[in-house]
């Protein structure tokens, strides 16, 4: 790695380390909280959302990080190409780190709480593909879960970066359109389209497509990785033409 890329890489890692630290501290607190509740109550608790929470967290972090990161590195005299390269490398590392940490949390928490009968600690992904993971031994299960969470995290970070880069490049009207458009599309338009589509022949095709891309953990992680790469690639020209904005 060239020394400037290395500095950009380090800068990204160091500036993301703090919010990630805070996030994992909160995760541990919440898990502890639920364990305590399980200890003192008879009702059963089922916690299995760590990876899903991490996905949301990493998406938001990538969204929030872009502008400040780009502008600061610009002040430090880094070219856009170097900013891009450093970010890709740093985000890959962070996605991997988060995947490993989450695995450790899942393994440790389920071991520690195994004696508690009314507390079940599971993994989001292994729960999602329960029948698939059930057949695997300890190592293959964790390795596959690691790959799956890494791909999902990277895809979402890539998406966050892409979205905030477009947002940064847009003018005021464009920003409003993105800010309003994305949630409207996901929560209003998509269900309507879906409802319409499921009454037509297209439904079959879409079901087949989803089945093909997401039916097994390996397929899902391949889809996520592909998505991450595509988003990363289309973010490149957007970042290359980004200019410092007046404040």
């Amino acid at each position: 790695m060239r020394s400037k890329t290395k500095s950009v890489y380090k800068y990204n890692i160091m500036t993301c380390a703090k919010p990630m630290g805070i996030y994992y501290f909160m995760v541990l607190m919440i898990i502890t909280f639920f364990v305590v509740i399980a200890l003192f109550s008879s009702g059963s608790t089922h916690v299995s959302g760590v990876e899903f929470a991490t996905v949301i967290f990493l998406l938001v972090m990538a969204l929030a990080d872009f502008r400040e990161n780009f502008e600061a590195l610009n002040q430090y005299g880094m070219s856009r190409k170097t900013i891009y390269k450093g970010k890709v490398l740093a985000y890959s590392s962070l996605a991997l780190a988060a995947a490993i940490i989450d695995r450790i949390i899942v393994i440790a928490a389920s071991k520690i709480t195994s004696s508690l009968e009314n507390f079940i600690f599971g993994s989001f992904f292994t729960t999602m593909y329960e029948s698939f993971f059930d057949k695997l031994n300890f190592w293959s299960e964790n390795l596959l879960a690691l790959l799956l969470s890494f791909s999902a995290y990277l895809a979402l970070m890539s998406f966050g970066t892409f979205l905030s880069a477009v947002f940064y490049r847009s003018n005021r009207i464009g920003r409003i359109a993105i800010a309003a458009g994305v949630p409207i599309f996901i929560f209003v338009a998509l269900p309507i389209i879906a409802a319409y589509v499921f009454t037509t022949n297209l439904a079959n095709l879409i079901t087949k497509f989803i089945d093909f891309t997401l039916s097994t953990p390996l397929r899902t992680s391949a889809t996520c990785l592909l998505g991450a790469i595509i988003l990363g690639v289309i973010s490149y020209p957007i970042i290359m033409r980004a200019t410092l904005k007046g404040k």
Binding site: E71, Y76, G77, M78, S79, R80, G246
Partner: protein
């Protein structure tokens, strides 16, 4: 050497720079003067590849700046606005700059902070306008880059700090010769510090010359209205002003055959500047 070749910059409905061709030579202190909105910041941002020109190009030591880490590393731009993370502390930014600019002088940065009584533990967002300028100027001057570009470095500084900052600029310049470009609209106080003068107005270069040449290109004559009028008759007059029966005239050329009733002083740079950049708004 920084060469700016036929650079034009259009924003949506404004032409910020209009076919600007300029050269900044090595090891000189330049004053980039212009009124607010004249295009100074845009020019500095284009030189350092932070903003793209609509037309034209910039060469630094013969190389294009765009996506050239090596060339970008030779320059440091102190922006007028803050682009550092607001929650970061001053000393953290010193340390990071040290990582990105290998020649950064960390020891001097902390020394200068102490001189200006800048608390390096405060966060960027907590700094007043004056201290934000001081902090950014310190980072720029200690970067030890070959080309240091300062955009309004004395913004919000009181007289004492302005004085100190000019001295610091000269001191850093004396230890290692480099090119320093100071963009400002406070002309008079910077005129003794700079060697070369560039005046831009409405996106165009009005004047580029050595400061001394400009200063010796004319003179000021003061006296009774009638005496002054008599003397300046037929001469190339830049501008005049009258007050309480006295008249000041700014005249081009060398003072010759001045009657003893008139007083000759040097050209007032600020007056020349106002004259050059006056868009006939006034009272």
């Amino acid at each position: 050497m920084i060469e700016i070749k036929n650079v034009t910059k259009d924003y949506k409905d404004v032409r910020a720079l209009d076919n600007v061709t300029l050269t900044f030579e090595e090891n000189k202190i330049y004053g980039l003067l212009g009124r607010n909105g004249a295009g100074k910041s845009t020019l500095l941002n284009i030189i350092t590849d932070k903003v793209f020109p609509s037309q034209g190009e910039v060469l630094v030591d013969g190389e294009k700046v765009s996506n050239n880490d090596e060339v970008l590393g030779k320059m440091f731009l102190m922006n007028e606005k803050n682009y550092y993370p607001e929650a970061m502390k001053v000393y953290e930014i010193f340390n990071w700059t040290d990582k990105f600019y290998p020649d950064f002088d960390l020891v001097s940065a902390f020394e200068l902070a102490e001189k200006f009584k800048l608390n390096t533990k405060s966060r960027v967002k907590a700094l007043s306008t004056g201290y934000a300028s001081i902090f950014k100027a310190i980072v720029a001057l200690c970067s030890n880059a070959k080309y240091i570009l300062l955009d309004e470095p004395v913004l919000g500084l009181d007289a004492n700090h302005r004085d100190l900052l000019y001295k610091v600029i000269l001191d850093r310049y004396a230890t290692v010769r480099r090119t320093i470009i100071i963009s400002t609209h406070l002309i008079e106080e910077v005129s003794s510090v700079i060697e070369e003068l560039v005046i831009i107005h409405n996106g165009k270069v009005l004047l580029q010359d050595s400061c001394e040449k400009v200063l010796s290109s004319g003179f000021t004559i003061t006296g009774k209205i009638q005496d002054v009028d008599e003397y300046i008759n037929g001469k190339d007059v830049i501008s005049t002003e009258t007050f309480g029966g006295l008249k000041n005239a700014y005249v081009k050329g060398k003072p010759q055959n001045v009657p003893s009733s008139l007083e000759v002083t040097k050209l007032d740079l600020q007056k020349l500047f106002i004259q050059l950049t006056n868009d006939k708004e006034g009272l």
